[in-house]
Symmetry: C2
Subunit: 221 residues, 2 copies
């Protein structure tokens, strides 16, 4: 089965354009690895912008099953959807620095600045595209393909040809792409054995460009 890579890229889309807003109204906070920034179901009164580190959006079902919807990095925004409550928990993967601002200030700003509305709509559309990509990725057949596609998507955002840090655990990746931790680990080993990736420790990867890494999806929504 031939699959193109599913570009995961979201983000940095309107994050950049919201930077002035946060510079004006935001206060900076620091969150320790594993700590929860916002609980699923809680009232969402603030919005955040990731300055540094990696955040995972996680949905929990009744029985404790986890699903990681996305990993957010520098420039990404949390809390743009205008639901009253957080639809997912937002958790720090590593040491995270955030800018936070009250939601109502954004609403005020929006009323004044129509361009900002457009920006936010773009950002939401981007998020839709990102989730759609994840759905397609999840539908991809083999575990190795899924893991490879995930890595390509994640690394693409860094645009680096050398080693890239994977701050999240194997379990996080597993819960993201719908596999067990062991299978993810095996897929890493397989990709390494096939010469498709290089590992330094468990948390630094480098993708080896192979000839048939044609481009796959244009995203956007």
């Amino acid at each position: 089965m031939r699959h193109g890579n599913t570009t995961l890229r979201l983000t940095e889309c309107c994050g950049g354009r919201l930077a002035p807003f946060f510079r004006q109204h935001g206060t900076q906070i620091k969150v320790a690895p594993g700590a929860v920034i916002a609980h699923q179901g809680e009232a969402a009164t603030k919005i955040y912008r990731v300055v540094r580190g990696c955040v995972r959006s996680t949905v929990y079902s009744q029985d404790g099953d986890r699903k990681v919807l996305q990993f957010l990095g520098a420039g990404d925004i949390l809390g743009l959807g205008n639901a009253a409550d957080w639809p997912a928990s937002q958790e720090a993967v590593d040491m995270v620095v955030l800018e936070s601002a009250p939601r109502h200030l954004l609403e005020a700003e929006l009323a004044a600045d129509p361009d900002l509305e457009r920006t936010i709509r773009d950002c939401l559309a981007q998020q839709i595209a990102s989730l759609a990509s994840l759905l397609v990725l999840t539908a991809q057949t083999t575990a190795v393909e899924r893991v490879k596609a995930f890595l390509q998507g994640f690394v693409a955002r860094r645009a680096s040809t050398s080693f890239v840090s994977l701050p999240m655990s194997r379990q996080d990746i597993a819960d993201h792409i719908g596999l067990s931790m062991e299978t993810v680990s095996r897929a890493f080993s397989a990709l390494k054995a096939q010469g498709q990736i290089e590992l330094r420790g468990a948390n630094f990867v480098r993708l080896i460009q192979s000839a048939d890494d044609e481009r796959g999806f244009a995203d956007a929504a």
Copy 2:
């Protein structure tokens, strides 16, 4: 970890509030079952509102694998994301009636009416929730559970306690929830055998309320 239930409900959210816009600017068209309303990748110059029938948003990958992102019904809007191209193909499942309007007219309207912006943002947020639910549903373990959850989600939108029409094929459902057609069929049979659903032909279902269905996917809100 106790977390709230995962609301599946999408749609009819802002569709209704866009009705006046379409009444003013829209023209009505009719699309035959199976016909394509918009091709993935094509320029998106129009937006549509479903008046009657069922539309599926489908993403195709290079090798022809299909993923059905969502089924849209009366009141739902196609083409709200402001990407230049359609991110997915929009296809008529059964006989569909649509209202269509040029995109630029909506843009013009938006500039004039700030409430409309808000409406659209709500609708996009809703779509994000819907995709997130699908991701969680896909992560759910067994095939039978997935099919049951799909049916509950689909029927919930009709709010009917009697038989509901399932316009889409087993293959459509399979491509939606990430199973093979045969497995979907088997799941239908199993649910029927367990007395959880009733079938009239292959395309009419009735859910049998069971005691422990209260908490499962009740959407509320």
